[in-house]
């Protein structure tokens, strides 16, 4: 039974090995060695820029995506009105289930020339509307912030679960010792969720080269290629739009290899510091 059903995952593996041969005519095409990689790194000047964009965007996302949910979870934990807490959690968790197509559509309205942000800025005395989505200064911050907007509720829920898991006796002991509220957060809650924070941080390490294809693809336009183009979108444009199959595959392979190294590294770290294993 299992053999039959493992044929389907084989699809994935076939794909993984196909890339080793240049693709036009999969088995019969001439072998060109590292030629594609050379073209990529030495003959096209914007590859380095794209790699820089990718790392910049994803590192910023990872950092903000760690800090904001933790702060939010801590604040929410301090809030004592139960229904208030619950409805907060429900609302911030919602954007997580919307697709990037929808989120991007919403935000491109909001940041458009006639959008809500510009209307507000004009109201507060700005002379001329800013073209956020077509500005190389604003594009990256917008990408990073919308990503945080979409995903922080989800991570916050994980931290809230971790906070619930902290032994209540610790708080009582802190009360008896006369700890203030801030001290309780600092010496009980934070150390209590530290393993979860470390775990989330190490696991996100594997994503350094994934700056979020779905998001960027839906939000960028040729004007902001300079700051917004990432490896995945480059693969898409080289590989499928321009039909340069082998070059596109080379970029993809480069990304996969770096990623897998990072993933193994992060699992090792996660195992060491948080005792986490897949199986």
């Amino acid at each position: 039974m299992l053999i039959i059903f493992s044929i389907i995952p084989m699809f994935g593996l076939i794909m993984a090995f196909q890339k080793f041969s240049p693709v036009y005519g999969i088995f019969g095409s001439p072998f060109v060695g590292l030629y594609n990689f050379k073209t990529l790194f030495f003959r096209s000047p914007n590859t380095m820029q794209v790699i820089f964009n990718t790392v910049y965007i994803s590192v910023a996302k990872i950092l903000l995506g760690l800090i904001i949910p933790v702060v939010f979870a801590l604040l929410l934990n301090e809030c004592r009105v139960h229904w208030f807490k619950r409805s907060m959690q429900t609302i911030v968790y919602l954007p997580n289930f919307l697709s990037w197509v929808i989120v991007a559509a919403m935000f491109s309205h909001i940041f458009s020339v006639t959008g809500i942000v510009n209307s507000m800025l004009l109201f507060f005395g700005l002379k001329e509307p800013i073209m956020f989505m077509a500005s190389n200064i604003w594009f990256r911050p917008i990408v990073i912030l919308t990503d945080v907007w979409k995903n922080f509720g989800f991570s916050a829920v994980i931290y809230i679960a971790a906070i619930t898991g902290i032994d209540l006796n610790l708080y009582e002991a802190a009360d008896i010792d006369g700890a203030s509220r801030w001290q309780k957060v600092k010496y009980v809650t934070l150390p209590g969720i530290l393993p979860t924070i470390i775990l989330m941080a190490t696991l996100s390490l594997g994503n350094v080269l994934n700056a979020g294809f779905d998001q960027i693809f839906n939000m960028y336009n040729p004007v902001v290629y300079q700051t917004g183009d990432i490896l995945d979108t480059l693969v898409y444009r080289i590989g499928l739009v321009n039909m340069q199959y082998s070059l596109g595959t080379a970029v993809g392979l480069f990304k996969s290899i770096i990623s897998i190294i990072l993933i193994f590294l992060s699992y090792k770290l996660a195992d060491k510091y948080a005792g986490y294993r897949i199986f």
Binding site: I14, M15, K19, I102, M106, V113, V251
Partner: protein, 294 residues
Amino acid sequence: MRKNKISMTDIIISIILIGITITCLVPILNTISISLSDRVSAGLGKVYVWPINFTIAPYEEILKDKQFFTSFLVSIFRVLLGGVINVFFCITMAYPLSKDVKAFRAKNMYMWFLVFTMLFNGGLVPSYLLVQNLGLVDSIWALVLPGAVPVFSIILLMNYFKSIPSSLEEAALMDGANPFYIMWKIFVPLAKPAIAVITLFAVVGHWNAFFDGLIYINTPGKYPLQTYIQTLSVSIDYQNINSLSPQDLMKQMAISDLTFNSAKVVVSMIPILLIYPLLQRYFVTGIIMGAVKE
């Protein structure tokens, strides 16, 4: 005992929390109100979180839009088909893998096999060529089959199966049940919470996916909903875009039918909003079961 006095800190915390929550809601409300406002005010950017000159005209337009309707049906069909396939493969994969290495010797090999595909993939171009060579382009199978075996869900379900006591299985074997019978009649009913989680994963994933529709489907009539919306509202005319200046580009974005598109976005959010209570209940448990286990 906790003090019930409301202090300054409480107020500050509440204000920050309300601020964050409002930030989460405003974009959604803004889109809904744009879709319910008349074109002129929406185009001028007067609409914030409350519709101006309330109208449901865009929604009436949607009802007449045949393409939207077919895409909606394609999406629903895809969710049903893909969901059933995903759950079926998950169960049949996870059940044998939840057994001990002694009972199933090749287990570790299969496990590595699965995890390897999860960590490493061929990348966009080889995947596309594979689908093309299999002759799946332009059929719904291209959307459903490449992701038919979701490894993360399998691991999650496998862990759940493991927690079911094996004495149940032994008892059933004594009574002469075969392995298939044991799986469907004993393990599957017991693992209902976990199966609910993976079903929801599959449903949300299929509903929200747009990119595979964009690359594998060539006939607009067969686009799933998200792909259709993507082609409409987000990307505008990529053919001659390079010749446009930023100003022209922005103008073109503004001209594109704002209220109508917002209405489409809102309609496509509705199914997710409908199952949101379920999602909220099961997703957290699912994530915690699958990822943050001890």
